[in-house]
């Protein structure tokens, strides 16, 4: 159980970064994000994404517009705000630095 916990901790750290990055690439519905994140194994349970999206939106990094969909209620279409873009840049730098550091620290040579 401890291993699962640690893995979850690692994923937690990058989840917001990944969401912002995905949305910066392409605007999407929550369900589409879920699809991608599940494929990349970053998400175990779908419910996690909803509080995250709301938090990012409340912090001003994301926004959404309502899109009508055929045969269903209108859905939220999320996109990144300019503030979110700046935030994302910072996170990208941090991630790259982190990756270097970790690779360095864990290299067997």
């Amino acid at each position: 159980m401890n291993l699962e916990n640690t893995k979850a901790q690692m994923r937690k750290g990058v989840l917001e970064f990944c969401i912002l990055s995905l949305l910066a690439n392409k605007e999407a519905y929550a369900s589409e994000l879920i699809q991608t994140l599940k494929e990349s194994k970053l998400l175990v349970v779908e419910g996690t994404i909803y509080p995250l999206l709301t938090r990012l939106k409340n912090d001003g990094l994301l926004s959404y517009r309502w899109e009508e969909s055929t045969g269903g209620p209108p859905r939220k279409y999320y996109f990144v705000t300019p503030l979110g873009e700046k935030f994302l840049e910072e996170l990208r730098k941090t991630w790259n630095d982190l990756a270097e550091a970790v690779n360095f620290a864990t290299s067997s040579s």
């Binding site: 929550a30 175990v44 349970v45 419910g47 909803y50 995250l52 939106k57 269903g72 209620p73």
Partner: protein
């Protein structure tokens, strides 16, 4: 065949089996509670509901119109239970379970400001001894009548400090006053206050506090009245019982020996009635009539007493009307019996006077046949008259 319930999920209509409906409802409630502390909790839950609607939509087709509990289970598995969500969610500093809960560390006796009618003495003692403060209040009320109660309460009020800070309140309940407990305690307080109207904290706590003190006072009086009702109810119950038993005895009990002017008689109501007022066959009716018209009120008394003492309300809606009709029947019967008695009384004529005892025997005019009570068997004589009448003529 199963029962189906209709649900509106994010604006779309779905049919669910009853157990699926209940499980989904419970899941959504749990989610709502879990996110209640977050900003935009409504938004989060409605987003999840939207996802549920999408998933339901995929499950439903021409062949399968109803969501089953298996579907709901699968959806909950995909979306995740609140515990799983908080595991994955970054930014959740709060541990799922406070580590130091349950440890009774140095329980201290305080007065409880959140549970007070007068001074919070009983509330504090209740928290310290882990008893419902109501019992302590009852004890104090009884002690009040023994005059030392008031003094005792005042002394305790002065001596025991009021728990003002959250740390003190925790100590009062015996929980360790560490950071995570304090945080949890504050959150619980805010949630309790947030319930009725969640606006600005400062002014709201004052209004809600006043409302809470007033409702505490109402509770106090209602408890008091309940106790009074129980005592009065018991008294009424006893009175009703005594009356009923006495009444039944007088109707059906064995003849009672009554001494009057050196003569002793055997007396019971039906026989007295029979001898003096009505024909024998009417005795049955008379007994029934008396039973109904007098017995029922006594029964009603007993029932009301029991209702007050044991705190229950009749579940049978027709009990009242039926009782009333029976009683009315008794009265009507009584009425007829009396009319018949008057007629018969007029039909009597003195038959003979027994020389030894001075009793008057009457003849009954039953359908033209004259009958008398038997002179040979004195036991059959149930007269109560002690006068020696003159016979006219």
């Amino acid at each position: 065949m199963k029962k189906t319930l209709t649900a509106n999920i994010s604006g779309m209509v779905f049919y669910l089996d009853e157990d699926a409906y209940n499980k989904l409802g419970a899941y959504l409630s749990t989610l709502r509670r879990h996110f209640s502390k977050e900003e935009g909790s409504d938004e989060i839950v409605s987003g999840i509901e939207g996802r549920i609607a999408e998933m339901f939509d995929q499950k439903v087709s021409g062949q399968k119109e109803v969501i089953s509990i298996g579907d709901v289970d699968e959806i909950i598995r995909q979306l995740g239970e609140p515990a799983q969500i908080s595991q994955e969610e970054p930014g959740e500093r709060k541990p799922s379970e406070p580590e130091y809960a349950g440890q009774t560390v140095n329980k201290r006796l305080y007065r409880d400001p959140d549970d007070r009618y007068i001074g919070g003495v009983c509330g504090g003692m209740g928290a310290f001894f882990n008893i419902d403060p109501t019992w302590i209040r009852v004890a104090f009320l009884l002690a009040l009548f023994m005059s030392f109660g008031l003094l005792l309460y005042i002394i305790l009020w002065i001596v025991i400090p009021m728990a003002r800070t959250t740390a003190e309140k925790l100590e009062m309940r015996g929980e360790a006053p560490n950071l995570s407990n304090i945080e949890r305690s504050i959150r619980e307080e805010m949630e309790g206050v947030k319930g009725p109207a969640s606006t600005l904290e400062g002014e709201e706590t004052e209004k809600v506090y006043r409302k809470r003190v007033k409702s505490n006072a109402n509770e106090f009086f209602s408890v008091l009245f309940k106790i009074i009702a129980i005592i009065v109810g018991l008294v009424i119950l006893l009175v009703g019982l005594v009356l009923l038993v006495g009444f039944l005895f007088s109707l059906f009990g064995g003849p009672v020996n009554i001494t009057l002017d050196n003569r002793s008689f055997l007396f019971n109501i039906p026989s007295a009635l029979e001898t003096y007022f009505i024909s024998p066959r009417m005795v049955v009716f008379a007994t029934v009539a008396l039973l109904l018209s007098l017995g029922i009120p006594f029964l009603v008394l007993i029932y009301i007493g029991a209702m007050m003492a044991f705190q229950f309300k009749s579940s049978w809606r027709y009990l009242g009307p039926i009782t009333f009709i029976l009683w009315l029947t008794g009265l009507i019967l009584l009425f007829f019996v009396m009319i018949s008695g008057v007629r018969h009384y007029r039909a009597q004529k003195p038959f003979s006077v027994s020389p030894q005892s001075g009793f008057i025997k009457y003849a009954w005019n039953h359908k033209g046949i004259e009958t008398t009570t038997d002179d040979q068997n004195p036991e059959n004589i149930y007269l109560l008259s002690a006068s020696r009448p003159e016979i006219a003529g």
